[in-house]
């Protein structure tokens, strides 16, 4: 098998460096070994997507149990503790294990194709990101199986409820350490994407020609590297409070619980934009395609994305309007928050402008995109409402806020991600998803979603606090809760049909041509699915919507293609070390959870820091071996028919990497 890579694409290859022993890197790119050692951004992207979809279903089931419990007043379907665990895990799962990695799946798969790159800048780091994401998700969910069960602290885990005195069980430690690993996943991914976008764009692809989705990938990645250190620090401090007797958040030792809120939200608010900017990027790709017009006001959309990201760091205290901030701080954060409505509004105006005068085709991706605009607009309006602290004084921590962020995160992020999945599925698999079934999914999701979440506005304004596992009938919340639960289940049915559809389409869907939607950007110029090396030629870009210009534009704006040089296309070697490094981290984090805690089969605490040290040694070994195995790589020679219309490479050409 090891030689198929060579024989498939090769004319006789130039001599490759021979490697032996532990530095011999795996060549098998199929099967389990191929998957575990892969550095291909496309396989990694699919790995992210499958993991994210699994966790989306898991978080969805948690949500449905929550809604079932709230369907009638004073139900006792589940205990208060279980309910509290469910909403904690639902929130954490949906944010860190579903929406973020689903966005990362698109970053990984689509972004390099959009910029004409053969892979990301650091392929092995990319693999590390995937394994950290999956293992972080596993670690977090392992908590269900240990004494005390999952954490019951809410997704923002306010101190001092997270102190050992109030949450003595291991669930909180699983949460802390799970989030730490997930943070690593996000950070390595973000550094990688920034480097890739800055350095590896095809010739001629200037920043202001970048597809909007790639722009949003770049901005989101900057948000991640600036925001995640804050939560990393907060989590380390909390870990020390729980395990080593420090008092960062404990009043008795001079700590301040409010410190946690500041650290958390200075991460947490940019996180909101980390969740929504990729969605906006996807929408900005799909609307032009199905309106057959370029994006209206491209520079302003890019700029407003950057402004949203920038302002996102200056508004965190609007989550804390009721914590007793002073008049000046409250006013400043309120007005800065209101400002964010402007760049957000700009995007909506420009999306409408994009469709204005176009020729709109209501395919499934387009329906999801239009649904996104409607519901994101609704979420934006309620956001404007509680940007005003006097209004927020009533709405904070009520179902009104729950309605608001679900409009932004489901109506916004999830609908856009579904639009993206319907849109790019043919590119990824070479098969089409049925449009009729897709529309049924859309209508079920749209109706179910609105029925589930619109009544929550009323619930919030009539006084229902969030995170309460039950309520009294006297409150007058029965009807709204009943309909909300019905809506949630309709939404669930829609998503279930989607999952069945995507599995079916993968095996049985109609074959797709390489450009089924008459699209505009570079990823549609290569095969569906793309070959291992993405592009057989090096694209030379002359226009913003290059593929559209190739089809309908003037001669001067057509793409040029440069054939690979005589050495062929240089590809990165696979590697075991990202997986081993991430397993080391996983063990270290699990060891931290078990630190001085009784675990099953042992009544007493048996572990000090032994497991942590073992895990860190494994991580260290992985990193050293990673460095020592060297960059590696091999060359591929695509079939010349694939670059028949390309100009030959310059003589010294080593091909475009």
């Amino acid at each position: 098998m090891a030689s198929t890579v060579e024989t498939e694409h090769h004319a006789p290859a130039p001599a490759e460096p021979v490697r032996d022993g532990i530095w011999r890197r795996p060549l098998k790119n199929t099967g389990l070994v191929g998957f575990l050692t892969t550095v291909d951004h496309k396989k990694i992207g699919i790995g992210y997507a499958l993991g994210a979809l699994f966790f989306l279903l898991l978080g969805g089931v948690e949500a449905l149990i929550i809604r079932a419990q709230l369907m009638y007043p004073e139900q006792e379907l589940i205990s208060a503790r279980t309910y509290n665990q469910l909403f904690t895990m639902h929130g954490t799962t949906m944010i860190f294990l579903a929406v973020m990695p689903l966005s990362a799946a698109f970053f990984n798969y689509i972004m390099p194709l959009q910029i004409g790159a053969r892979d990301v800048a650091f392929p092995r780091m990319n693999a590390l990101g995937l394994w950290c994401f999956l293992l972080g998700g596993v670690l977090l969910n392992l908590s269900w199986f240990f004494p005390g069960g999952a954490p019951a602290i809410g997704w923002f885990a306010y101190a001092p409820l997270t102190d050992r005195q109030y949450s003595p069980d291991m669930g909180t430690d699983f949460w802390i350490m799970g989030l730490q690993i997930l943070g690593i996943a996000s950070l390595v991914g973000a550094f990688n994407f920034i480097t890739t976008i800055v350095n590896m764009r095809a010739p001629g692809l200037s920043m202001m020609r970048l597809p909007l989705f790639t722009w949003m990938t770049l901005i989101t990645s900057f948000l991640i590297i600036l925001a995640f250190p804050a939560i990393t620090i907060a989590l380390v401090e909390l870990m020390f409070d729980r395990h080593f007797g420090t008092y960062f958040f404990n009043v008795e030792g001079g700590g301040k619980p409010i410190l946690w809120q500041h650290l958390f939200w200075i991460f947490g608010h940019p996180e909101v934009y980390i969740l929504i900017l990729p969605a906006m990027g996807i929408i900005s790709e799909i609307l032009p395609v199905f309106s057959r017009k370029p994006l209206f006001g491209y520079p302003l959309i890019v700029f407003s994305g950057a402004v949203i990201g920038f302002l996102g760091f200056a508004v965190w205290s609007h989550h804390m309007f009721t914590t007793g901030l002073g008049v000046v701080a409250t006013t400043a954060f309120a007005f800065l928050t209101m400002l964010i409505a402007i760049p957000t509004g700009v995007k909506i105006f420009n999306w409408i402008g994009t469709m204005w005068g176009g020729r709109i085709r209501f395919t499934t991706p387009m329906l999801f995109s239009v649904g996104f605009i409607w519901m994101f607009m609704m979420g934006g309006f309620t956001g404007i409402m509680h940007s005003s602290p006097p209004v927020d004084a009533q709405q904070q921590d009520t179902y009104f806020v729950v309605a608001h962020f679900h409009y932004v995160l489901i109506g916004g992020s999830i609908f856009a991600l579904f639009a993206g999945m319907y849109y790019w599925f043919p590119k990824v698999t070479g098969r089409l998803m049925d449009d009729f079934v897709g529309k049924i999914v859309f209508y079920l999701m749209f109706v179910g979603f609105n029925l589930a979440f619109f009544p929550m506005h009323i619930l919030g304004m009539t006084g229902m606090p969030r995170r309460t596992h039950t309520y009294k009938s006297e409150m007058g919340w029965d009807q709204s809760n009943f309909w909300s639960t019905i809506g949630a289940f309709i939404l669930g049915v829609g998503i279930l049909i989607f999952v069945i559809q995507i599995v079916y389409a993968y095996y049985k869907g109609r074959k797709s041509p390489k450009d089924p939607w008459d699209s505009r950007t570079l990823e549609w110029d290569t095969d569906s699915p793309p070959k291992e090396y993405n592009f057989a030629y090096t694209p030379v870009i002359h226009a913003r919507d290059q593929v559209w210009e190739d089809k309908y534009g003037v001669e001067a704006k057509r793409m040029e293609k440069i054939a690979p040089g005589k050495h062929g296309i240089h590809m990165p070697d696979q590697s075991w070390w990202p997986l081993i490094t991430s397993i080391g981290l996983f063990i270290a984090c699990l060891g931290m959870v078990f630190h001085k805690q009784p675990i099953p089969l042992t009544a007493e605490a048996v572990f000090g820091l032994e497991i942590v040290i073992f895990g860190l040694v494994a991580t260290f070994v992985g990193m050293v071996a990673w460095a020592l195995e060297g960059p590696g790589g091999f060359h591929l020679h695509p079939d010349p028919a694939e670059y028949a219309d390309a100009t030959p490479a310059p003589e010294d050409g080593h091909g475009h990497h």
Binding site: A80, N84, G154, Y158, P160, L161, Y166, P168, V251, P257, I258, P294, L295, G297, T322, T323, V327, T331, A334, F335, M338, I342, V346, I352, G353, M355, W356, G357, G358, R359, I360, F362, F381, S388, P389, V391, A393, Q394, Q396, D397, F436, Y443, V447, N450, P455, I458, M461, T462, G463, P465, R466, R467, T468, H469, T470, E474, G476, W477, Q479, W483
Partner: protein
């Protein structure tokens, strides 16, 4: 034959109509116990007014922008029989139009920003004209109940905040365990109670009334059961209430015998005396019945005159009170009355709870009856 979905607009319109009906249906209880849409005091009224303003502004945007969106989707959709290869003009933008819309949105925000500033100050600072006659209350939040202290008179009560209508009440908020949030939707919105810091909120009820409040910040297992009542009394009843609350309710000889005249006990004497004995042994370690002393648990002096039990979850009726003491863990999971108090490690018991006492049904009946003599 294959069904084709061609009319997203009809579907959207249907949905909008459905939601509107639902809204109307569910809004019939706008006067619900905790409805912020039914303000009964100046702070809540101000918050309601600004909310309505934001509602008008956003509705205006929804109609204009949403209307434009709907029109575009209708007008420029690909119709049956249209040339599928038609290429619309490839316009790239309109900077003046875009900047105009930016400025217009900024203008709309100013409309909201100005009253917002007034609202921020109103919530923080009692207006000067209301300072005269204002009373002061200290509130401490615990898992999962509220302690109310009247510092000017020097007594404590729990879970029911009584105050005179038409006068400002200055409330100092503290927490001793985790974060809670004091929320009285009809009077003043909410402010958090945070360990290690003192927060402030003020409330005022325009008329006498009975208001429901609830903890709004997730605070552990029984967060959903952490309610309270706020009772605004007319001036004369308020004076009377103040006077009553400061009276002792039990003998100070350590027997815990009620001071209430025996003919008013309402239960057989031996039952009450047994109840006093059970209370002394199993309850008095945490519950003070002296209005001037606050211990670990809710102060129970004058418990018999309260309207609710278990921090507002139950009405104060014999059967419900009995249930609360008989099986507290079922009524309010995780509560300290049952579990006792634990050390910082979360495991070591430093004060026993009812689970350690194993009271008989008869003893619980006795102590239930006894509690009604505390008034």
């Amino acid at each position: 034959m294959r069904l084709r979905i061609r009319t997203p607009f009809l579907a959207a319109a249907g949905l909008a109509a459905g939601l509107l009906l639902l809204t109307v249906g569910c809004s019939l209880n706008i006067e619900g116990q905790q409805s912020a849409l039914d303000p009964k005091g100046p702070v809540a009224k101000n918050q309601y007014d600004i909310f309505m303003l934001t509602l008008y502004v956003t509705t205006f945007i929804f109609i204009t922008v949403g209307g434009a969106l709907a029109w575009v989707l209708w007008k420029f959709r690909q119709r049956k029989g249209d040339d599928p290869n038609f290429i619309p003009p490839q316009s790239h933008g309109h900077p003046m139009l875009e900047m105009g819309l930016v400025i217009a949105s900024a203008g709309l925000l100013v409309i909201i920003a100005i009253p917002t500033f007034g609202g921020i100050i109103l919530k923080k600072v009692v207006p000067e004209e209301l300072l005269d006659g204002a009373i002061e209350v200290n509130v401490v939040g615990f898992q999962w109940w509220w302690a109310f202290e009247y510092p000017e008179q020097g007594f404590y009560t729990a879970n029911e905040l009584v105050f005179p209508a038409g006068r400002a009440v200055k409330i100092n908020l503290r927490a001793d365990d985790v974060i809670h949030s004091f929320w009285l939707p009809k009077l003043a919105g909410k402010v958090d109670l945070i360990p290690g810091q003192e927060n402030f909120i003020w409330i005022m009820a325009d008329e006498p009334g009975y208001f429901w409040g609830q903890c709004a910040e997730f605070c552990g297992d029984s967060h959903a059961y952490m309610l309270f009542r706020a009772i605004a009394l007319p001036e004369d009843e308020w004076e009377e209430w103040l006077e009553t609350q400061q009276r002792d309710t039990v003998a100070d000889d350590g027997s815990f015998e009620p001071l209430l005249a025996r003919e008013d006990w309402g239960y057989p004497e031996d039952k009450i005396l047994k109840g006093a004995e059970v209370f002394r042994q199993a309850c008095a370690g945490c519950h003070s019945v002296n209005p001037r002393i606050q211990t670990n648990g809710p102060n129970l002096a004058h418990f018999g005159s309260r309207t609710s039990v278990a921090a507002g979850w139950y009405e104060n009726e014999y059967d419900l009170l009995y249930r609360w003491i008989r099986e507290p863990e079922k009524v309010k999971p995780g509560n300290f009355m049952y579990r006792g108090f634990l050390d910082r490690d979360g495991r070591t018991v430093i004060m026993p709870g009812l689970k350690d006492y194993d009271l008989s049904d008869e003893e619980v009946h006795a102590v239930t009856a006894y509690l009604y003599t505390l008034r």
